[in-house]
Amino acid sequence: MKRYGEHRFPGKLFIVEGIDGSGKSTQLMLLHQWLQAEGYGTVFSEWNSSPLVKETTRRGKKKQMLTPATFSLIHATDFADRMEHNIIPLLKAGAVVLCDRYIYTAFARDVVRGMEPKWVRELYSFAVKPTGAFYFRVPLDVAMKRILDGRTGLKFYEAGMDLELADEPEESFRIFQGRILEEYEKMVPEFDLTVVDATLPIEEQQVQMRQIVKAKLAQAKRLRVSP
């Protein structure tokens, strides 16, 4: 079994991280467009996308039967499925793989829920190291404004309601995201995440991102695929 580390597959893996409302998904979408236009075989791998484990996760969440430990483990199971059946085969095939959230999301979320940081990191040690990991840094208030403007109702686990931080979902969400933010900041030096200032104009962030990705793709062969 491969331990967490540099992969030697021909493909490349780029991931984005950040709290909800940091704009990371928009940036990844723009990167995707550009990579395709440049002729790279590019594939999105989405978090929580495995059909096999999905049903268990969905039920656990719906019935609110997840504890911090089972929440952590069911998501790790789902991630492992994605790693074994999606990400690794794609990397072997030479694709540029894009992930909206990666193991760092789990590290932040699980540690805020009280899991031992070292245990969670070890749990995910089967994951391959990304070619590039971008962290979209944004102040809590900016992110909160972006999210709460555009949506109605927060989900139970999403708002961290299981932690009993506050009675109101919105207040709970704010406290929860604030703690997640602190965990992300700890991980920047630990995992050498590339920090992008997510308060800059969208185009400016994208320029930074493309420069870095371009440099890392310098030797990668372009896998021509028809759109």
């Binding site: 049903e55 268990t56 039967m65 911090p68 483990l73 199971t77 074994e84 009280g114 089967f126």
Partner: protein, 270 residues
């Protein structure tokens, strides 16, 4: 206070768990459930409340694992973690509350089987030990030991070879018999390794049901009365380990020998 093999899960209070956690371990078809079906009424006759639990029985993940296994589509790491989820759900929602209520918890396998099966499938042994390091240490682990030659007729003449118990996912090109023999041999060897590390009490499972039952009864009676384990039951520690521990003690490295080696996960976490 009950100890774990390493980390403690959030919200898991290990104080005042007055019940007893008794594990029956052993490979597939060795007669674990037969024995548990005898032990449960025997304990209840003595006025002991018993919780019986086993793998893939959690309300959270039990059904999902069964479905996934029917499709044979899960990767090795994924399947291992799915089992861990199932175990954790039962630990938090059944085992711990029962121990708190003073029950005797009889569990048909524990983390050891899950580790053995994962390791045989090429999972990193240090990783899987670390993953399960939150498991509370049981009061006793009775390991029903059998050789592969004694095991085969039992399986053939009861339920037949099963896909997973034959490790067909590992040797898909072979017939069930060859695969079963190869897989179970590897699994039994892994159990012996874990048995030493986690100090299993070994019961010879090639004996008849009655004899095995009497042996287990004697062992469990001893656990319930709080008497120390008979040295006869113990698997001797390898000589080197004993010598090393003695050396370390002389050198004043108290930390290393603080916990007698058998119950400590030494391979994990470094």
């Amino acid at each position: 206070m009950r100890e774990t093999y390493g980390v403690v899960l959030p919200g898991m209070n290990l104080v005042d768990l007055t019940g007893k956690l008794i594990v029956i371990e052993g490979t597939d078809g060795v007669g674990r459930s037969t024995q548990i079906n005898l032990l449960k009424p025997w304990l209840e006759q003595q006025g002991r409340a018993v919780l019986e639990t086993g793998m893939t029985r959690s309300s959270l993940a039990g059904g999902g694992i069964k479905q996934a296994k029917e499709g044979h589509t899960l990767g090795r790491i994924t399947l291992s973690l799915f089992y861990t989820t199932d175990f954790t759900d039962r630990l938090e929602n059944e085992i711990i509350p029962a121990l708190r209520a003073g029950f005797v918890v009889l569990t048909d396998r524990y983390t050891y089987s899950l580790m053995a099966r994962a390791i045989v499938r090429g999972i990193d042994p240090a990783w899987i030990r670390q993953v399960y390091s939150f498991a509370p240490k049981p009061d006793a682990v009775f390991y029903l030991r059998i050789g592969v030659d004694d095991l085969i007729p039992r399986v053939v003449f009861s339920r037949g070879f099963d896909y997973w118990e034959s490790g067909m996912d590992l040797h898909p090109s072979e017939d069930m018999y060859e695969s079963f023999r190869k897989y179970q041999t590897a699994l039994l060897a892994q159990f012996d390794v874990l048995g030493e590390e986690f100090s299993f009490e070994v019961v010879d499972a090639s004996a008849d049901i009655r004899t095995v039952f009497e042996r287990l009864r004697a062992g469990i009676a001893r656990v319930l009365s709080g008497e120390p384990r008979e040295p006869l039951f113990a698997v001797p520690r390898p000589k080197e380990t004993v010598e090393e521990a003695a050396k370390a003690e002389e050198a004043g490295e108290a930390k290393v020998v603080e916990v007698p080696a058998p119950n400590k996960v030494t391979a994990a976490g470094e």
